[in-house]
């Protein structure tokens, strides 16, 4: 209840922010980046997706305003997913 | 009966058995420490009414010792086995002159292809697999003309590196010859190589060691390891008859 009496984050601004990023993603995928390489597009799209996800997690889910131990609960699974991905993909690297 | 590992019949067997023995010795030390320790403590510290135990919460130095010793031993063991592991399974470790053998596993039989005099395995195509052509050998391929295909039989020359090209048609099987100490899963959709040198002429059994269905228990084949001379004679005798007209 960290925000009970405090000012709320600018939710509408974040909403606009998210909408703009989504539009940017769509543009990148279908409009102005037709000739860019797949790798570049992939990287940029992933950055945009993670950016949007971070906005949701930090502001809408209030992770930005929580204490470190609750953030730990939220972030704990992420390294595990990366380990699983790395091992699964390594089948095809050699 | 034999109370130890099976006879050794491949280049890997002596070293694997050596590692097995080494680990047995390494593990015997903590095993006896713990079991004898428990026995001694049971008799020595049997409780008596009105008495109390020794009040202690631990000893950091002792705990450091029994953390450090296993850590060092295990890392050393890991490093030692790794070079051997790379030699056995490393994808680039197959000797260049290894004799290629095709092993095609299906429910519930092993189909073995020997390359014949040209030393090359013919191409196999999944869509060609049929009752008459169980491995899907592409007979238009030059390497396929002299290939010898046998069912549940594998004939190998002794003393020469052999590389088995393992393919599976339906489910996972596992190529396992206890005397060779060689085991490799045969996975549908994957092309896996397993190499070894059969050292002792004789007859051995291939077992399927991965549950593959109802007939898993009888998915059994025989390996015959010949001396090079015997092997050549056998191969000559079993060479496919060239068909008139061609296909």
């Amino acid at each position: 209840m960290a925000t009970t009496t405090h000012k709320h984050p600018p939710y509408i601004m974040i909403w606009i922010y998210l909408a703009v990023l989504t539009a940017l993603e769509l543009g990148l995928a279908f409009e102005f980046a037709r000739n860019w390489t797949f790798g570049l597009k992939l990287t940029l799209l992933m950055i945009l997706a993670i950016w949007k996800a971070l906005l949701v997690a930090l502001y809408f889910m209030h992770l930005k305003f929580e204490k470190w131990n609750l953030r730990l609960v939220a972030l704990f699974p992420l390294p595990l997913t990366l380990i699983l991905l790395a091992a699964g993909m390594s089948e095809h690297i050699w | 009966m034999n109370w130890w590992l099976p006879p050794q019949a491949s280049n890997f067997a002596p070293r694997i058995d050596g590692m097995f023995t080494a680990i047995l010795i390494i593990t015997a030390i903590p095993f006896f420490l713990v079991e004898i320790g428990v026995l001694i403590f049971i008799f020595k510290y049997k409780g008596r009414a009105g008495q109390k135990g020794h009040y202690t919460h631990g000893n950091t130095r002792l705990e450091m010792i029994w953390t450090a010793i296993p850590a060092v031993t295990m890392v050393a063991l890991g490093l030692l086995s790794n070079s051997f592991w790379v030699q056995i399974k490393g994808r680039n470790s197959v000797p260049a002159d290894a004799y290629p053998v095709g092993v095609h596993a299906k429910q519930f039989e092993w189909w073995v292809t020997l390359p014949g005099p040209d030393g090359k395995l013919g191409r196999t195509v999944d869509s060609l697999i049929s009752k008459a052509n169980p491995t899907g050998l592409d007979t238009t391929d030059a390497g396929a003309k002299d290939d010898i295909v046998t069912r549940n039989q594998m004939h190998l020359p002794a003393g020469r590196p052999v590389v088995a090209y393992l393919t599976a048609e339906d489910v996972i099987h596992s190529f396992y010859v206890p005397e060779f100490r060689v085991r490799q899963d045969v996975v549908p959709g994957m092309h896996i190589k397993a190499w070894f040198v059969a050292t002792v002429p004789g007859k051995y059994e291939i077992g399927c060691s991965q549950l593959c269905g109802l007939g898993h228990y009888k998915m059994r084949a025989q390996v015959t390891v010949h001396t090079q001379a015997d092997f050549d004679a056998w191969a000559k005798e079993h060479a496919p008859q060239p068909k008139a007209g061609g296909e």
Binding site: F30, A49, F60, V73 | -
Partner: protein
Amino acid sequence: MSHAMAVGQGGPMDPPFPAERGVDVYNKKLGMWVFLASEVMFFAALIGSYIILRFGAPGPWALPGVVLNIKITAFNTFLLICSSVSMVKAYAAVSDGDVGKMKFWLLMTILGGACFVGIQVFEYIHLVERGFVPAGVREGSELAEMVAKGELPGATMGLYGSTFFTMTGFHGFHVTCGVISMLFLYLTKALPGKYTQQDHAGIEVVGLYWHFVDLVWIILFTIVYLI
């Protein structure tokens, strides 16, 4: 004593005695975060499988926008983002003590979520009509012709169908669960006026779930529809 009361909000599930403090959040909220951690692993299994399968796919993947309808999904994405904002507005309203506004925003959220599910069902029906099914491409359909003409890579369409329907299907299932639980809270708690400035754990907790579902969709939309 006052220190201890800050731990919980005095809800029925909170320890009624001054338990030692854990992570300084009340049980329901902590429980939801812990649950979300497990949800991350669940979606990691599905999304991870998609990434691993696509990484090792035997051929090129279908180009984005050929099979899937991007316009309608882009609108759906926007809808879900809006419902996330309305959810957080509902939470902000109730923590400021404005219960009426909270009811309005919660209703907006429910409507947004329900529309999302409706559009997704519509999208599924449309896809199946065109021949896109979990097993890949249905024989004799419009997409099967495109595969025959070489406009779609036949070798990977099976994987495409499998992963697409599993991932988006389970996301849709989560959205549906969210809508149902929000509707439940709206009818049993919000309308009877049980949420106050002091006690509105339900709004915050279901909100966390809702934002998580939104977050998953943000990832899914990018990796499934745009790449």
